[in-house]
């Protein structure tokens, strides 16, 4: 027995065992990760309050700060007094009941209840069902916000949320069979003043380092690719299926009455438009089917204000009654534009929620089509359309053929003007509700402008505009002298700077004094051209007010912007590409906005055309890229063939031979010396694990281990017993050498090059099945 041979050393098996051991999270770390993800989900969900118009700001601030605090100090929930847990449930129920009873709005109350529950979950240690509850609560908030806003943010948010929630569920499943060691299963986790061990030992930087170690990047990458693939396929399907009505199918928006954020209303006080200008968010995106039609400076009219009183312009009730049609529910409205020759130009508007219920338009139009039936009142002669209420979601409408002359034809008013003797000045947009002092002051100003001359409307407008520009500077912070008189006249009398409303208002008063009907128009001016999505982007900061003066000779209202181009010159402005290039926006904001427009274009469809176009574009892009690659390859081959076919002479031959020799020489030099040199360079650096020889040896060891595992599985089927007579020993020697290269002292290394070659040979022989190869 003493002479028993030693058991063969399990060298070849050793790397297999080493390779198969993957680092794993400890139970504590899993619990920490679970806590982290739960709070991140809470934060994500609570963040949706930014998009919803629900009064839950205090709760949001409370919940998010609690979530962050509980992340930074996971021991905090243990300090929550016991009575909080005792009274939490009754308190929440009472709060919800009182909320519903007092405010009588169900959905906002539910949102607040949801946030309260989330808050409670963040300040107590969670068990599995509590974690699941967080997912459901968060999903509720995200879905509500998504349905209410129908925006790109929703898509991004739900994608991100889904990813996090999937990871969270995985960790919940993993931690379930391994209860945190400080909390025996079944004991109330929330009650104790003793935080669980994982909370005490939380060290986030350490956890992230561990996460990096533990993560199986290959699997993770595969998962991400899979996820992206599923999302991509869904997106394709989404593009391909017929559109369904987002909002009509869900009635959630009816539950929340949303107020206009900034809002153009029928009444504009001085400073209102300027307030809107402070807001740089997107108000409107416009797609144009024929870019050559784009005017140099588009004026997006929304509302005319014809009555002035005490510093306030408003839409007179008379105008509203006379000119606006009865409210009706329809999906289109025919306008008054005179049909233009040539193909129809489509202008597709995406009006953001909360901007106004008055739709921005460029003037008379042939037809407006809505995506779905809307309740609206049209004023065709004014070229205005008003929806019933401020839209809560993005409103899309498509306009066919605008009249881009810059003036608004108004037969009704022309008719009235011809019979003006029968009407009061208030019916003729001529009224000046001012004191006599003010009126005479206006007369004085007018005299200064026209020299007492009676001029045609256009010249009058131009002169008044020029005079206003000459006397006042444009500024968002106006200087109006204090006093008792009408504020506009005070401003007119002084020479202080003013904003667009003051200019427009003064213009209207002066024009009326001159005997021309005039009114203020509010809306947007200009906008930028998004270079990425090729559309107009109009921001709230583009809000503007200007004047319109009635020209009795043509029967039209001429635009008169004291701060812009002279009246009646729009027709001469550069159009199309020149106009676009002047407004080109290539900023990062534009890039983000383009995503928004892309999303709108996709979910909003007026017909199947755009859908078909998109699908065709996708198909073409795929086909074209394949075709281009083939062509490039063919060209390259043809070039090579031509080069080879060209007549050969000695010089050319020598050149080619020289080049080939050079390449071979370089390769040889590299294999002989270069790699050794490279290794020495690395060794000089002495980076841990950075040594290329050690790294390569490690790779070979892992490959051999993997091959053995594969083969072992095969062999297990054929012969039982790990030490069967046919057990291959091909690797023993080479593994020993590789191990020496990987872990041994550098002075004892055999030639790495030779060892790696033998490893390659052994592997090849092994996988081809010839077990017994000759050992070098």
């Amino acid at each position: 027995m003493a002479s028993l041979p030693l058991p063969p050393e399990p060298i070849a098996a050793a790397p297999g065992r080493v390779a198969s051991r993957r680092p794993q999270f400890t139970a504590d770390e899993l619990h920490q990760l679970r806590w982290l993800l739960g709070n991140v989900l809470t934060l994500l969900a609570v963040g949706t309050v930014f998009y919803m118009d629900v009064d839950a700001w205090t709760l949001m601030a409370l919940t998010s700060s609690a979530a962050i605090a509980a992340l930074v100090r996971p021991t905090l929930p243990a300090r929550v007094p016991r009575f909080v847990h005792t009274f939490a449930f009754p308190a929440i129920v009472t709060f919800f009941a009182a909320d519903v009873w007092l405010r009588s709005e169900l959905l906002p109350a539910m949102v607040r209840l949801d946030m309260l529950l989330l808050l409670y979950r963040t300040i107590s240690y969670r068990q599995r069902r509590d974690d699941l509850q967080i997912i459901i609560l968060g999903l509720f908030l995200i879905v509500i916000a998504g349905v209410l806003t129908v925006s790109l943010t929703f898509a991004a948010q739900i994608l991100f949320y889904t990813g996090c929630a999937l990871g969270f569920l995985l960790i919940i499943t993993l931690t379930d069979p391994a209860p945190a060691n400080a909390a025996p299963p079944g004991s109330p986790v929330v009650a104790g003043a003793v935080p669980p061990a994982w909370a005490v030992h939380t060290n986030w930087p350490h956890l992230f380092r561990r996460l990096r170690e533990v993560a199986n990047w290959r699997v993770l990458g595969f998962g991400v690719v899979l996820f992206a693939g599923v999302v991509g396929v869904s997106a394709l399907l989404f593009l391909a299926i017929p559109r369904f009505q987002f909002e009509s199918s869900m009635l959630l928006d009816r539950f929340i009455s949303k107020k206009a954020k900034s809002g153009f209303n029928d009444t504009i006080r001085f400073g209102d438009v300027t307030d809107i200008q402070q807001d740089n968010s997107v108000a409107l995106s416009v797609d144009v089917s024929d870019q050559s039609q784009i005017p140099g400076t588009p004026y997006w009219r929304m509302l005319v204000l014809d009555s002035y009183e005490q510093g306030t312009f408003r839409l007179s009730s008379r105008l509203r009654l006379e000119r606006f049609d009865q409210e009706r529910t329809a999906s289109f409205l025919v306008g008054r534009a005179i049909p233009r020759p040539g193909p129809t130009v489509f202008w597709t508007f995406f009006l953001e929620s909360g901007v106004s219920r008055y739709l921005p338009l460029l003037g008379h139009f042939e037809k407006i089509r809505f995506r779905e039936p809307q309740n609206f009142r049209g004023a065709a002669t004014l070229a205005l359309v008003a929806l019933r209420g401020d839209p809560v979601t993005m409103t899309a409408y498509q306009v066919e053929d605008f009249d881009l002359s810059g003036s608004v034809r108004d037969e009704t008013f022309s008719e009235r003007w011809r019979n003006r003797a029968q009407f009061r000045p208030s019916d003729l947009s001529l009224e000046l509700r001012l004191t006599d002092d003010d009126k005479s002051a206006l007369e004085r100003h007018l005299n200064e402008i026209t020299g007492g001359e009676r001029l045609p409307a256009m010249q009058t407008a131009q002169r008044i505009s020029a005079w206003l520009r000459g006397n006042h500077e444009y500024s968002l912070t106006p200087r109006i002298p204090s006093g008792e008189r009408d504020p506009l006249l005070r401003w007119l009398g002084a020479r202080g700077p003013g904003h667009c409303e003051l200019f427009a208002g003064s213009f209207v008063l002066l024009a009326r004094t001159a005997g021309f009907p005039a009114r203020v128009v509010t809306g947007f001016k200009g906008g930028s051209w998004n270079a990425y999505s090729n559309n107009f982007t109009i921001r709230n900061s583009d809000a503007h007010a200007w004047g319109e003066i009635f020209d009795p000779e043509t029967g039209t209202w001429l635009r008169a912007d004291a701060l812009g181009a002279a009246a009646g010159t729009q027709a001469e402005e550069a159009r199309g590409q020149a106009a676009i290039s002047a407004r080109m926006d290539r900023s990062w904001t534009a890039r983000l906005d383009s995503l928004r427009v892309f999303w709108y274009r996709r979910i909003v469809s007026f017909d199947q055309r755009s859908q078909v176009e998109t699908l065709r574009a996708v198909k073409d892009a795929t086909q074209n890229s394949g075709k281009r690659m083939r062509e490039a390859l063919e060209r390259a081959l043809a070039g090579l063939k031509g080069w080879a076919m060209a007549p050969w002479n000695a010089r050319r031959f020598i050149k080619v031979l020289g080049a080939m020799l050079g390449i071979v020489l370089f390769g040889w030099l590299w294999f002989e010396f270069g790699r050794a040199w490279w290794r020495t360079v690395w060794q000089a650096g002495g980076g841990r694990g950075g040594d290329p020889v050690r790294r390569e040896a490690s790779q070979w060891l892992r490959q051999i281990a993997a091959a053995e595992v594969r083969r072992g599985a095969l062999d297990a089927g054929r012969a039982n017993g790990p030490a069967g007579p046919g057990r291959p020993d091909v690797f023993a020697a080479v593994v020993r050498e590789l191990q020496r290269l990987r872990f041994g002292a550098r002075e004892t290394w055999p030639s790495p090059h030779a060892v790696f070659r033998r490893a390659r040979q052994a592997l090849r022989a092994y996988s081809s099945g010839s077990y017994r190869i000759s050992q070098p």
């Binding site: 030693l6 794993q24 060691n181 002292a745 002075e747």
Partner: protein, 323 residues
């Protein structure tokens, strides 16, 4: 460590260790893994604590190791009335030379078997402390070196706690490894049953390794190369025990050094002049387990042993092995 070992020395070491192993296998049947651990401990120059129920061969193991080497062997049976001087020796007045003469105790040997060490009082146990750490005994301020090589081979029964004094942690830390014998396989036990044997003295083994060879092996083991990533691996395991919430405290610096020494010894036992990560993973439990205590209370000692081993296994599994 940086000086690499000539291959000839490794081969010599291999032959010596093979002889030792073969010799021990004659008496210790079916326990190749235990024999290997004992050899690792010997080559690393550490002390060994063997824990198990009575009668599974703890003492036989110590005997067979001692008899296989050309070394002085002594055995101390620890009892509750054993005095420190019974272990280390005592200075007595010699009338003939008119001065105190030091009478060496049983520790003055190369392999000392401290049988049932936890039966002795703490005072007597601690008498072993210095000698285990420094390999010398100081009596009346005078140091006396014990044998070289010097290895303490302590045994204890973990279950039967009646009338015992558990070893203090400081003393636990001085043992390189703790092993469990376990019951032999049925076939091996049959052979044991067949073999009629009188007692330990009947263990007839010839010394196959000399004292010098053992010393050579020990110094050779210290030169075994440990690559940086492997050292880093050890370090990660050590620091993981310190952050693990299940343990009362992590392992000491001495423990980390001990693990390194043990892996070097294991590499040598496996005829290598460099350490593999596998050496580390194999030795973490025997080297660390007895140095760690659970933070929570356990019902009995075996339960604690199991929980500590499981936690260690989990820690090692959670740290990426260098590849």
């Amino acid at each position: 460590m940086s000086d690499f070992v000539p291959m000839a020395q490794i081969t010599e070491a291999k032959q010596a260790l093979d002889r030792l192993r073969a010799n021990m296998r004659v008496t210790i049947r079916g326990k190749d893994d235990i024999i290997e651990q004992v050899m690792v401990c010997l080559v690393a120059g550490g002390h060994l604590l063997i824990e198990d129920l009575p009668g599974v061969g703890k003492t036989t193991l110590a005997y067979s190791l001692a008899r296989s080497m050309d070394c002085a062997f002594s055995r101390i049976q620890f009892t509750s009335d054993l005095l420190p001087s019974d272990v280390t020796g005592v200075a007595i007045y010699d009338e003939t030379v008119k001065e105190f003469v030091f009478k060496k105790g049983p520790v003055f040997a190369n392999v000392v078997l401290a049988d049932e060490i936890n039966r002795a009082t703490p005072k007597t146990q601690s008498a072993l402390l210095e000698v285990m750490d420094r390999a010398r005994v100081t009596i009346d301020g005078e140091p006396h070196a014990v044998g070289s090589p010097f290895m303490v081979f302590a045994t204890q029964n973990p279950v039967d706690y009646e009338g015992t004094f558990p070893l203090p942690e400081s003393q636990m830390d001085r043992f390189l490894m703790r092993l469990r014998m376990g019951y032999p396989e049925a076939s091996d036990e049959l052979i044991i049953l067949r073999t009629a044997r009188g007692g330990y003295d009947a263990i007839a083994l010839n010394p196959v390794v000399t004292r010098t060879e053992i010393l050579g092996l020990q110094s050779l083991a210290q030169q075994v190369f440990v690559e940086d990533t492997v050292l880093d691996f050890i370090l990660k395991i050590v620091s993981a025990t310190r952050t693990e919430s299940e343990f009362r405290a992590g392992v000491s610096v001495r423990a980390g050094v001990a693990l390194r020494a043990a892996t070097q010894a294991r590499a040598l036992v496996h005829h290598r002049d460099f350490v593999l990560p596998e050496d580390v993973t194999e030795l973490v439990a025997p080297v660390f387990a007895h140095r760690l205590g659970l933070a929570r209370q356990t019902s009995d000692a075996l339960e604690e042993r199991r929980a500590v081993s499981a936690a260690l296994k989990r820690i090692v599994a959670s740290i990426p092995t260098p590849q």
